[in-house]
Amino acid sequence: MNMSLNRIAFLYNVRRNYPDPNEKQVQLDTDFDDPATIDSFVKHLQNLNLTVLPIEADESAYLRLQENKDKIDLVFNFAEGLHGRDRECQIPAMLEMLKIPYTGGSPLTEALVLDKAIAKDVLRSHGVPVLPHQVFSTETEELDLELKFPLIVKPNSQGSSAGITNDSVVENENELRRQLKFVISNFKQKALVEPFLDGREFSVPMLGNNPPEILPIIESDHSTLPAGLKPLDSLEVKWIVEEESGGANFICPAKISPDLEEKIKQICLQTWEVLRLCDFCRIDIRCDRAGNPYVLEVNSPAGLIPPEVSMTSYFPLSARVAGMDYETLLKKILSAACHRYGITY
């Protein structure tokens, strides 16, 4: 007999401070969500006639999942994991152990996506265009001769632009060493260094499975940024400028030639296939000056801040452009996951 979807658990991590490019420690929590986002998210799920059990993905998450296992038809996994080497895949790993169905990628997919360097290696080996990169464990390692300035320095395993600020773009050895030191010491993880591209920048939301639907592409309009800000989706731009401007510095749907659009879509579909993504994700793409697109990053789970909290969260914004309200979007994600597990919804 087919199970039907009535009761879900919502797994999340909560941050206590709003992301601030000037507060190094606060940047560590950037991946997490505000309490208002969590509350609002739960209300929307309840509006879909579902009984919702919110569970914070902290040390007690496993026990709470185990205790409630028989009352959970599916988990909406929105958690990033608290700490550890592969924190984003802790919850999928627990859910596999407890045999509870869940939205989003498997532990392998989430682990690959979290480790930017290895995700790029895998994509490159399958012919998906990614930039050459180097991983630094210390700030003193020699720079590969292949890498030419300007370069960008990122934490290897952090999302939501955490650790990516105006200072991340480095023009010389001194700046490189300074930024490596900051990333490695502040985030206690390796730093990824790759060429900084200053061509057009896109974000591509993908929804559903076999194949996923590509929602309207978002383009960052760096020409509207305040003076002094470098043309990239930095922490300053994503969490401050975009909020203050109400989204005036991005365009959705992107004004894009059919050729480039097709190229980007093919790259994203290939990325989805290679990394075995599931249900929903958002892929960041940047072009070089010749207009060739490269995969910068994969966001899984992608940010889904409800509209009453923020009107600039990329995935829900793109869904709205496609004529899909927030609850319909959530319903589609749940439906995609249910379909994979044979759950009626």
Partner: protein
């Protein structure tokens, strides 16, 4: 934790094994002694004055860990309910509880159970691997570049399961039959790779304060037959026979592979050397059979050739795991070491 950084209490998590969890007797054999082996290892730890807790890798594990609160655990789990790919759930649970553990994290463990992806990654980092193709169905078109003989392997299972003489195909007809058997029996994709005839080297990486590589050549009974394979029968039913092997170049490749595959603490690689002395990495394992010589594990047998006994292996892992947990930096690989050093005279902790 004592003054030297060693834990006072340690947990050992091992696979819970029942015959009905496994599709075949051969796969069951690879794990059937998990609890017994854990007790043997625990005996060594107890003799070091450490309190040892034993845990089967089951869904109730968390309750037991929270009750006992061991300072760290040895994660020896190779499968959950017979599913090897679920072994990565253990590091996930341990990380969420903030309990230090030996071995790879979730990424390293999940990668280990996808041999095709491992080969892709190694190749993309310039580490030589035989040409291979993944089959999710026995009827997929064979890549024209693939050259017979081909050896078929399960993509997600270690322990040389189904690596028998019948695993080597000289014809497409035989290959199809073999693929059909593997895919239908184990319900997972199978990998076909070009069979490299030649000598077989096993590399063990062990992390202490430094990471070191220990190389040994597998000596088969029929020494002059280049088509020998390290079959299931060889691995599980016959006594292993290793001899020291030296090559700094290979040791460097192994170090690189260890990093690429996100292994930690220890790992094992199988490498073939063809008749032109070219190396090919044919297998890697982030969680290989672990135990002392009496359990006939490669790690103890090979390190024994270098004068390192099992107690010393345990000491290194205990200290390394506790150091990692404190966020201390690990030292880089010791240059050109491992395959040529005489370990019996060294104690790397003195330097600390």
């Amino acid at each position: 934790m004592d003054k030297e950084g060693s834990p006072q209490s340690v947990g050992i998590i091992y696979s819970e094994v029942k015959r009905e969890y496994f599709p075949t007797e051969t796969q069951y054999l690879t794990e059937k002694d998990a609890e017994h082996d854990a007790k043997i290892i625990g005996g060594y730890l107890e003799r070091m004055g450490i309190k040892v807790f034993y845990y089967p890798g089951t869904p109730t594990l968390v309750v037991d860990l929270l009750r006992d609160r061991p300072e760290m655990v040895f994660n020896l789990v190779g499968s959950i309910h017979g599913q090897e790919y679920l072994a990565s759930t253990i590091p996930g649970i341990l990380e969420s509880l903030d309990i230090p553990y030996t071995g790879a994290g979730i990424l390293g463990e999940t990668l280990a159970y996808n041999k095709f992806l491992v080969k892709d990654l190694l190749q993309s980092h310039g580490i030589p691997v035989p040409r291979s193709q993944l089959f999710s169905s026995p009827n997929l078109l064979l890549d024209m570049k693939m050259r017979f003989p081909l050896i078929t392997k399960l993509n997600e299972i270690h322990g040389a399961v189904e690596i028998t003489k019948d695993a080597v195909s000289d014809s497409e007809k035989h290959l199809r039959e073999r693929l059909k058997f593997l895919i239908n029996t184990y319900k997972q994709p199978a990998l076909a790779e070009e069979f490299i005839a030649g000598r077989e080297i096993t590399a063990i990486v062990l992390e202490g304060l430094n990471r070191k590589v220990y190389l040994a050549e597998k000596i088969f009974k029929e020494e002059n037959n280049p088509n020998q394979i390290a079959s299931f029968e060889y691995q599980w039913t016959e006594e292993a026979h290793y001899q020291k092997f030296e090559d700094p170049y290979l040791a460097d490749l192994v170090k690189r592979a260890f990093d690429v595959l996100r292994m930690s603490d220890y790992g094992k690689f199988d490498i073939r050397m063809d008749q032109s002395n070219r190396y090919y990495f044919i297998d890697s394992n982030s969680n290989p059979a672990f135990g002392p010589k009496e359990l006939d594990c490669a790690i103890a047998n090979i390190l024994g050739l270098y004068g390192i006994d099992f107690t010393e292996i345990l000491k290194r892992l205990l200290l390394n795991t506790m150091r990692d947990a404190q966020g201390k930096e690990r030292l880089p690989f010791t240059p050109s070491e491992g395959n040529s050093n005489n370990e019996s005279t060294t104690n790397e902790y003195v330097a600390e």
